[in-house]
Symmetry: C2
Subunit: 377 residues, 2 copies
């Protein structure tokens, strides 16, 4: 929390204030109390973090958070609603009364509420202090993410095994135990494998054929032999909220030659990137090295073709968080947990993506991902 204290001193503010549900990862990180409805977190220049919750959440909040817990009633909200006849204005006054008149707020605060808060206090918008804190993981966080990735590999293995052990119908359709192998069925297999570990999948990508040329196409319907199948699986622990992230591209039987070539290039690009990762290098340098590598091998990016996304991203309480391994990626430091996921996409042909994750260490990169890279199964 030193970074937040430093930001308060630097900006000459009394307190840092967030007003959001725990769907906001910053809120989950700072306050640790899980809600679908917004509550207030206050980190004062002196003293400890406090959450202000509705009475109905008081008992649960005391159980879940290490912060001080105050109810809206105890913080005077009912009287303020009487006085101002507007919940948002009353909430702004309650925050000012509790936290002070010089407030630091995250850039994610909704502009509507921020404007109301500005009518009662001096408001300074912080630019990403908590995101920077979150980008450097503690040993505990690293252990949690490793654990989710372990479950991810077990679940992905179930899916790969189903495809490997399926039969090919005369039209190329994959059949397993007399039923079609579809994107949906493979997702079900993955979800079922994750559930006992209290992990869930959402929006798992199981795309096939030319659909794989769209990096975020989830995929639907029948899977076919001799075509690329992109499996991008990023489960989340329902207990602690941390994500893992892995992509594999496979084909039941040999795919067309272009895909085999693309696979080799993508694989080499990923290893090239992994060897470059160390503290002090920038995400941009690593990303650009991969761009150059692809260009040297004839894979030039144009419009929707080629290497059309960034090389990687941080992973934690959000599936996409800092640091970024992209054109604009900053300096990496120990504790950053990042993905390396080069990909090549050609509409009408298909796509290949391979993604590993790991942590930036004092002198390199400790990869979490142990899953084999094998195109043809």
């Amino acid at each position: 929390m030193r970074d937040l204290a430093d930001a308060l001193t630097e900006k000459n503010c009394d307190a840092y204030v967030v007003y959001d549900s725990s769907a906001n990862a910053d809120m989950r990180y700072l306050a640790g109390f899980l809600t679908s409805d917004p509550y207030i977190y206050i980190y004062p220049k002196e003293g400890e973090g406090t959450v202000i919750v509705s009475s109905m959440e008081e008992l649960r909040a005391r159980r879940e958070t290490t912060c001080n817990v105050v109810t809206r009633s105890a913080a005077g909200l009912p009287d303020l609603i009487q006085e101002y006849q507007n919940i948002e204005t009353a909430t702004a006054h309650m925050i000012k009364n509790f936290a002070g008149t010089k407030l630091l707020v995250p850039q994610s605060m909704p502009v509507g509420f921020a404007q109301t808060l500005m009518t009662v206090a001096d408001v300074t918008v912080d630019r990403g202090t908590v995101a920077l804190m979150r980008a450097v993981k503690s040993a505990d966080e690293i252990a949690l993410i490793r654990e989710v990735q372990k479950r991810n590999e077990e679940a992905t293995r179930c899916a790969v095994d189903m495809i490997r052990n399926s039969e090919t119908r005369v039209d190329g359709a994959l059949i397993f135990e007399d039923e079609p192998v579809t994107s949906e069925r493979v997702r079900d297999v993955i979800a079922a494998a994750l559930r006992p570990w209290k992990c869930e999948e959402r929006d798992t990508i199981i795309s096939c054929g030319t659909d794989t040329a769209m990096p975020h196409c989830l995929g639907t319907g029948q899977l076919y032999a001799n075509q690329p199948i992109v499996m991008d699986v990023f489960p989340r622990s329902l207990v602690n909220g941390y994500f893992a992230d892995m992509t594999r591209t496979i084909s039941k039987g040999a795919p067309r030659e272009e895909i085999i070539q693309m696979y080799a290039a993508v694989h080499e690009a990923k290893e090239l990137a992994a060897e470059m990762i160390r503290p002090g290098i920038s995400g941009a340098e690593v990303h650009n090295a991969v761009v150059d590598f692809f260009a040297e091998n004839g894979y030039v990016t144009a419009g929707s073709s080629g290497f059309i996304h960034s090389l990687g991203h941080g992973v934690g309480l959000e599936i996409h968080e800092g640091p970024s391994l992209s054109m604009s990626g900053g300096i990496l430091e120990p504790g950053n947990v990042v993905t390396l996921e080069p990909g090549l996409y050609y509409p009408g042909v298909g796509g290949v993506r391979l993604e590993d994750m790991g942590v930036v260490t004092e002198n390199g990169f400790d990869r979490f991902t142990n899953f084999e890279k094998q195109l043809i199964v």
Copy 2:
């Protein structure tokens, strides 16, 4: 979209601009393109809605949205990044170049980006136009929500059946097919029943005993006989994004007398509310009638005890949306889909909640929920 056009005219703005992922329900409602990363939606005073997406999303966007699709590159972003050396500033200029200099934005826009946008354009913050549009459901939307509620009831029935058919160990623990009946196991049963219908559950509440005194306590571990079990299940369609919402309180064998009395009062409160629902009445009137009813029956709200939440809420692409049936609830109109969920909570004793949902019609309330109300199973 007439409401949005009216808002633009009234505020003298050129275009309405949202910059968010489809996790923002407004974005899903307006643009209908599913993403985990933010993209831009522009609704101009004249013409049609446009989305601006990254090149990697272009093909998928064209497939999923009925809006015009423009890539960031085509909208000039790369040159603007060169010029301003800052992605956020460049994005603001791109929006201005495309949409005009007088922009209407939602109150949910992050204040950080809103401030950047304000450096290049006149920005007016809209207060909930799209939320009001979303609160009035079309016949198609009503059909989708009804369908999810149907699946919800099938899934909840599986859970109730497991509890009903379980055996009671000497210490009161429920056992089904030789294994303990836990909150987690009941959630698994519900999830498995929903999955073939492409619906998912998240944060389903299966709480037992004194934990039920915390309305949002998810519940964990062993379930017991002769104690209230609160089951609050709100699945979402993975296909269209609409939610349903239902709560039942059951007990395997008779619970303590207070719970039986509370159940009768909560049930009566819900029916009282259902009879009041019609166009023209305010959510506050209905909520206050339930507060009065509870008070007349000796259930006075104090701190964390009694009826400590609002009576109900709208349901749609968000589980909690407009209109509100609470102290501050406004006038209801035909097409509003709302829950009625009175509850009573006493720490050390337990809680009871019953929740039905339905749509406000031209002359009353059409309930979607057909699930029986039966405390003792």
